[in-house]
């Protein structure tokens, strides 16, 4: 069980609808997405296929299409959809009082382990 480590990554309004922003936590790129329905999601910003930046992909329903080779990744689980298989890490994310918080606890432990 990882210890939660919630960090404030910026204003919720800064995450565009059907879009994403990214930030670095230590050496790990993390993408924060907003789906068309307003839902916020966070994934490690690396496609399980060739490491493409998912934050640059087109967001549709609750998935994102990787800009490099069109793999479709679930925003909720980080799993590749359809016939592709692979997974990137999904991180808990919450909006509180207009700010977005991402729980990077899983990364923190992995990094110090």
């Amino acid at each position: 069980m990882n210890t939660a480590l919630w960090i404030d990554v910026g204003a919720a309004a800064a995450i565009p609808s059907r879009g994403a922003r990214r930030f670095m936590f230590r050496d790990t790129p993390i993408a924060v997405f907003r789906a068309g329905d307003g839902g916020l999601f966070a994934l490690i910003d690396r496609c399980p296929h060739k490491g493409g930046p998912l934050s640059e992909g087109i967001v549709h329903a609750r998935s994102v299409t990787c800009p490099l080779h069109n793999w479709v990744i679930s925003l909720e689980t980080g799993n590749a959809q359809g016939s592709d298989s692979g997974c990137t890490h999904a991180l808990p994310v919450e909006a509180r009082d207009g700010q977005v918080f991402v729980d990077v606890g899983a990364l923190s432990l992995a990094a110090s382990a």
Partner: protein
């Protein structure tokens, strides 16, 4: 009676609202004489039904009609009501409640039903007269008084309550505008499609909606006169109603040292961290959730009654509830996990003619969510399926058509469903054609093909979504005599329509936004996918130049960031070099940029320009600023757009040159740059048939000859190698330019998205293109003019815009404030 009362344990309720009173009712029902009950309420009113505030405002109900518990109820149940006096503190050790008038009320068991307070954005001007919330009967009175004076009202918040307030105000004759912070109305209940339909339905009721509108101030001199928006806009208002969400009232609980998160935390029996104190209603937080809807709050009251008046066996659980918008004639219903989640599947039904949109979300053969617009009758049925969690595998085919159809078809093989339909069943919603009419036409007029049926009955002739049904009817009626026509390749899995049909419908119905297309053409997914969204965005851009606002979120990253993404996530930058010409100043600027930004690779491209590779995304605007300062603009090397116009040196230098090929190439490029096209367009001008500019493998090529210019089209030298075909020969540069613009515009308006010119030409035929461009000079002129019109808005350098700060978020990473401090 007083004596009997004094023997009983004292139950005190803070809060005379719906939750507090309902809890008391439930307790009395279970244990009529168990407690001596006191209710403390800060409002002077008796308990009334807040859910009915909207009908009260709309004039559909009177205050008396929305009273739940009148004075007689308190008396009949021997409840001591302390109304109009606020509770100010709880002394948990002494077990009493202090009141504002100095009294104290002792308790054995205490219930907190303190409710919530409307959230009002902390901006200047909130205290101006004319700015109200929509929370209690007093607010409704203020709003009604404002309506009597008439004028303009602004409602802040496009949630359920805000829209109901807007509707009530509009009913009372106000000119109403709703400002909503999010891009979707009622975003907790609706998706984009339903929000779009709702926006239109509200507009029809005189209510304007502004989405993504952030209030920065309420403005007025002594009284509110309007709302200032973050984007610089201003919404004039004589009345402002703030309905931007609620905050649980937790001050008393907090002061008393109870556990409080966003709300007062309770367990399954509604008990707080003090075993003698319970909480219920909107002030409560349970399993990290807050509650604003009535159904779960009623469940809380039953659980609380079970704990205080029964055996405590009934536990509160968060369960799905349905939400219905109470705006007359505007049926909107939402239940469960409407937004879908991993593994979930959507069933989407759209009936454009009747303005209906239904979306069901399935997970593992169970219904988990539903959004209904236009026909919400089956909402409660869907909710019951969501709550029961039963498998819908047997009724999946008919589920979206509702309870009546599903029950009628129970046990019927889905493929026989069409045969089982009654003759009066409507097959084609667009043209109102029922099954009987189609079958009669088939048998009496000996129709054998889909086209026959279309031309005779009009069924499937508009949006085409009932085509499979009509085909099934043909097959069922004719038996083996029916052969299905060739199938059209759909745009993507979100629709059955092909590209051509989509383009035709955009023009035929004047569809000007993506949600409109998806509704009209009955898209099967809520917001499309990475294949159809860029296509639709292009079609809209092409159909409505200057009018349609480009949708960034539907652009592939290269077109969104105006550079080519590389395998490592960096970008390449290719400035335009008109006709392949450059200068020492441009080359110096490129060299300086490469040094300044540590650009690792500088390469000459096949299109006669220079590629800077490995530029970090956040450096792009600064790189463009430096290139722009030297006069360079975007080369659109990243876009489905005009790329390069390659040239040879022509009569300026070449001993074989027949015309000024370089000059013509520059003219073409200056005329055509910035234009978005279905797929990339590469051009070239060669000064003689030796063809040094390789014009015969370009999308459009010009070969100069002594007597003029040969215009070639449909070449390719990529995945496929294909030489061009000669379209025509013209004698002047002006004719060449007009012809090239006309071809490009014809291609822009006619081709499928991502279809290169050579593929388009193979599909429609060179003869057809010749007939439209070469033989028909009026059409050529008209196409040219439409191209010129679309260029008026297209020739804005996207790099300069971004170097000047446009889209800054796109190029700026988030900077977590605590990332390192948190270690």
């Amino acid at each position: 009676m007083f004596d009997a009362r004094s023997q009983r344990p004292r139950l005190v309720v803070i809060g005379n609202g719906m939750a507090g009173c309902r809890a008391v009712e439930e307790i009395i029902a279970l244990a009529p004489d168990k407690y001596a009950i006191t209710i403390i309420g800060a409002e002077p009113n008796v308990n009334y039904n807040r859910i009915m505030l909207s009908p009260l405002l709309a004039g559909e109900k009177t205050f008396d009609e929305i009273v739940i518990n009148d004075r007689a109820w308190y008396e009949a149940n021997a409840i001591d009501l302390i109304a109009g006096v606020a509770a100010t503190a709880i002394d948990r050790d002494a077990k009493n409640v202090a009141l504002a008038d100095g009294r104290t009320v002792p308790y054995d068991q205490l219930i907190l039903a303190t409710g919530s307070t409307p959230f009002v954005p902390p901006v200047p001007g909130v205290d101006l007269p004319g700015v109200v919330t929509f929370r209690d009967a007093e607010d409704v009175n203020t709003m009604k008084a404002a309506c009597d004076r008439g004028g303009r009202a602004v409602v802040i918040g496009g949630g359920l309550l805000g829209l109901e307030a807007a509707y009530g105000l509009a009913r009372n004759g106000m000119d109403v505008t709703v400002l909503h912070l999010m891009p979707i109305l009622m975003e907790r209940q609706l998706d984009q499609s339903a929000s779009h339909l709702l926006t239109r339905a509200l507009a029809a009721r005189g209510i304007a909606v502004m989405l993504e509108a952030k209030t920065t101030a309420f403005v007025g001199d002594g009284r509110v006169e309007g709302v200032q928006l973050e984007d610089g806009g201003f919404a004039p208002a004589d009345l402002v109603v703030v309905s931007a969400g609620i905050r649980p009232n937790t001050a008393l609980a907090q002061q008393a040292g109870l556990d409080v998160a966003r709300g007062i935390t309770v367990n399954h029996t509604m008990q707080t961290s003090d075993p003698a104190i319970f909480a219920v209603g909107e002030c409560v937080e349970f399993e990290k959730q807050l509650f604003g809807l009535v159904a779960p709050i009623w469940d809380q009251c039953r659980a609380l009654a079970s704990a205080l008046g029964g055996d405590g066996a009934l536990h509160f659980q968060c369960s799905d509830t349905g939400t219905k918008l109470k705006v007359s004639g505007c049926e909107v219903y939402s239940a469960g996990l409407f937004a879908g989640h991993d593994r979930s599947e959507d069933i989407v039904y759209r009936d454009a003619a009747r303005g209906i949109y239904k979306r069901l979300v399935l997970d593992n053969e169970r219904l988990v969510g539903a959004v209904l617009f236009g026909d919400a009758d089956d909402g409660p049925w869907y909710l019951s399926l969501i709550k029961s969690g039963e498998s819908i595998v047997d009724i999946r085919e008919s589920l979206i058509f509702g309870r009546a159809v599903t029950e009628a078809l129970a046990g019927v093989n889905p493929s026989d469903a069409v045969a089982a339909l009654p003759a009066t069943a409507e097959i084609c919603g667009c043209n109102g054609v029922c099954k009987g009419t189609i079958v009669e036409a088939i048998t009496q007029k000996n129709l054998t093909t889909l086209d026959d049926v279309r031309s005779v009955t009009k069924a499937s002739g508009s949006c085409g979504s009932c085509t499979p049904l009509v085909e099934s009817l043909l097959a069922a009626t004719l038996g083996d005599g029916f052969e299905r026509g060739p199938s059209i390749k759909p745009v993507c899995k979100c629709t059955d329509h092909g590209h051509q049909r989509v383009r035709e419908e955009i023009l035929a119905h004047g569809l000007k936004s993506m949600p409109e297309i998806m509704q009209q053409l009955e898209w099967k997914t809520p917001d499309g996918c990475a294949s159809c969204r860029p296509a639709l965005n292009y079609y809209l851009l092409c159909a409505w130049p200057g009018d349609y606002k480009d949708d960034k979120s539907s652009r592939f990253i290269n077109e969104r960031a105006h550079g080519n993404i590389q395998k490592d996530g960096t970008f390449s930058v290719v400035p335009r070099m008109w006709g392949g010409l450059t200068s020492p100043a441009e080359l110096r600027a490129i060299a300086d940029v490469a040094d300044k930004f540590n650009i690792p690779t500088v390469k000459v491209t096949g299109g006669q320009r220079i590629d800077l590779l490995g530029v970090k995304k956040e450096d792009l605007p600064a790189v463009w600023a430096d290139l722009g300062a030297a006069g360079m603009v975007s080369g659109h090397a990243y876009g489905k757009a005009l790329r390069t116009v390659k040239t040879c040196v022509g009569t300026d230098w070449c001993r074989f040159g027949t015309q000024d090929s370089t000059g013509l190439g520059v003219k073409i490029e200056k005329f055509m740059w910035g234009s978005w096209t279905p797929a990339k367009v590469k051009m070239a001008v060669s000064g003689c048939p030796r063809n040094c500019a390789e014009a015969t493998c370009k999308d459009v090529g010009v070969i100069c000859v002594d007597s003029g210019y040969e215009i070639h089209i449909g070449g390719a030298a990529g995945l496929h190698i294909k030489g061009t075909e000669v379209l025509c020969k013209v004698t002047t540069e002006a004719e060449a330019l007009e012809t090239i613009a006309a071809i490009t515009q014809f291609y822009r308006e006619d081709a499928h998205y991502l279809e290169r010119i050579y593929k388009w030409m193979a599909r429609v035929g060179l003869d057809h293109i010749k007939a439209c461009i070469v033989d028909d000079s009026n059409n050529r002129r008209a196409l040219h003019d439409r191209f010129v019109l679309s260029q008026r808005d297209a020739q804005v350098d996207p790099w300069a815009e971004r170097a000047n700060g446009a889209d800054a978020d796109e190029f700026t990473p988030l900077r977590p404030a605590l990332a390192e401090a948190a270690e």
